[in-house]
């Protein structure tokens, strides 16, 4: 693995706490980062048929977005806002529609956003239907995920943004099975939430009772991409039998007999690692004891990739000290589970994620409440926390733009 960072540069390892607590800094992040970068919203195969749509709230951005597949099979994104007087035109979170009708006065739009009905049209002299379209948002697909960009003219295309192109996209764009979806409102800054997920350094302390020693922290070094853009970096984790405090439980062992998905445990002998087909992005070391890769994608995405499954965490900023934590879990094979044993195997991964992430979320609110304390003005990021450092530098580079 290449290691672009050399040594621990003390000046770069000190992170001003104010970045997590200042309202002015937060507003800058929203305007200069979130409104300008590509935002990961949903899977493209979630809306396979014309008229299939989902709605996503962007919280601090004061935007509701409709992602819909048109009659021409193209995916489009629109502001969920009637040009007449601003009401939402899609009230449900998902479904299938021939078009969108505003329930306020009945203005109606087809799947391409064209206004097809304007009740009392003759009373709107000077307003043409062609001026009354739903407003489209730039959208594109990378790694099977629909992304949007709120800029009128995005600086980069999605492909140009998602660099370095190391094969992660091919891995993600395979057909993945939607396995579980959790959400919680957490009283912390969005970066605290992400920081908690993009290093394995915390395993032995925070997960002392659950995962300690499972991911060896002694020999992994994060790979970061100083010249990248949307891809910040990642860390590989390895299972170390000699350091692991907790052998798999009996129920975990039985679950692993029944299916392919594994949660922070070594694989059974003879079971193939799958579908690791991105040698420059995932399990790059090629080590037999690989168990996970944790990826940070700008701005607010964490991917935790394990054997035969991955989760995506989206940290949606609400305010400087409030964040929506959104966790979606995917599995690879079988799709869908064909029998109870396979279903049980997937549930074990799900409940493991749910319970252990409760440990991860546990530090966030008390940390946020400490940030105004005063004497401590900087966080310290180590080499093992190199992805956090790279994320900070990338964010700051966006905030420094005119």
């Amino acid at each position: 693995m290449n290691k672009p960072e050399e040594g621990l540069a003390p000046a770069r390892a000190k992170i001003p706490i104010e970045r997590y607590s200042s309202d002015a800094h937060f507003r800058k992040e929203i305007e200069k980062l979130f409104r300008r970068t590509w935002l990961n919203i949903c899977r493209a195969d979630r809306i396979p048929e014309p008229g299939d749509y989902i709605v996503q709230d962007l919280y601090a951005l004061d935007v509701s977005v409709i992602i819909v597949r048109g009659t021409d099979k193209r995916i489009r994104a629109f502001y969920n806002m009637c040009p007449h007087r601003g009401n939402r035109v899609a009230m449900d979170q998902c479904g299938n529609r021939r078009g969108f009708k505003c329930l306020f006065h009945g203005w109606t739009y087809d799947l391409n956003g064209a206004c097809v009905a304007m009740p009392g049209e003759k009373f709107f002299p000077g307003v043409e239907r062609s001026d009354a379209r739903l407003v489209e948002i730039h959208s594109d697909v990378w790694g099977g995920f629909v992304h949007i960009n709120l800029e009128e003219n995005p600086e980069k295309t999605l492909v140009e943004y998602m660099v370095p192109q190391n094969g992660l996209d091919g891995y993600l764009e395979q057909t993945w099975y939607p396995n579980f979806h959790y959400q919680a409102e957490v009283n912390c800054n969005w970066k605290l939430m992400i920081d908690a997920q993009i290093e394995f350094y915390h395993f032995d302390a925070l997960h002392e009772a659950s995962l300690a020693g499972a991911a060896s922290v002694r020999d992994h070094i994060p790979e970061v991409f100083p010249d990248g853009d949307g891809i910040i970096g990642h860390t590989e984790g390895y299972f170390s039998p000699e350091t692991a405090k907790h052998p798999p439980t009996d129920v975990q062992m039985i679950a692993q007999e029944q299916g392919n998905a594994v949660y922070f445990n070594p694989l059974d002998e003879g079971k193939a690692k799958q579908p690791i087909n991105a040698p420059n992005a995932i399990a790059m070391s090629g080590r037999d004891d690989w168990i996970a890769d944790s990826y940070s994608l700008l701005p607010h995405i964490v991917l935790l990739i394990q054997n035969n499954n991955f989760v995506i965490q989206r940290a949606w900023p609400v305010s400087v000290n409030k964040t929506i934590w959104d966790l979606q879990g995917f599995s690879f094979e079988p799709q869908p589970p064909s029998n109870f044993g396979e279903f049980f195997n997937l549930r074990m991964v799900q409940y493991g994620q749910r319970d252990v992430l409760s440990e991860d979320l546990s530090t966030l609110e008390v940390t946020q409440r400490n940030l105004g304390a005063g004497p401590i003005r900087n966080f310290h990021f180590s080499e093992q926390e190199g992805v956090l450092r790279q994320l900070q530098e990338r964010i700051e580079s966006y905030l420094a733009k005119p």
């Binding site: 998902c94 479904g95 939607p178 979806h181 589970p337 029998n339 074990m348 252990v356 440990e359």
Partner: protein, 119 residues
């Protein structure tokens, strides 16, 4: 009517209290129970877990007969309490973020992520 295999019959005494069909119900039951109660259930059902799998795996997931489903729910209860029993030794996660604040959106019919629930 599917016949209930004799070897699962010893589990029948647990079905009324513990065979809960949804994740929310199972997690609530876990959090309302004591560690000792969860440990007792775990140790009693674990020896039968492979038998439950073998019995239910004879059917496609969505064609498991109604009379057999409660054994599946009981197995899922074991999945739900596994780490509580074997890691934290506590029905809730010490110092953890309350799971009561975590919404399982996949339980909703027609959920936005497109998860197909069972049963």
């Amino acid at each position: 009517m599917a016949e209930i295999p004799e070897k699962l019959r010893p589990l029948d005494i647990f079905l009324g209290e513990w065979a809960l069909s949804s994740e929310s119900a199972r997690l609530a039951k876990r959090q309302q129970s004591t560690y000792e109660e969860l440990r007792g259930l775990h140790d009693a059902v674990l020896p039968y877990l492979r038998d439950i799998m073998a019995c239910l795996n004879a059917y496609p997931l969505y064609e498991i007969p109604a009379e057999l489903k409660p054994y599946g729910y009981l197995a899922l209860m074991l999945a739900d309490i596994d780490l509580a029993v074997n890691r934290w030794r506590s029905p809730t996660i010490p110092h953890g973020f309350s799971l009561n604040r975590v919404a399982p959106l996949h339980e909703k019919p027609n959920n936005v992520f497109g998860v197909k629930p069972w049963p």
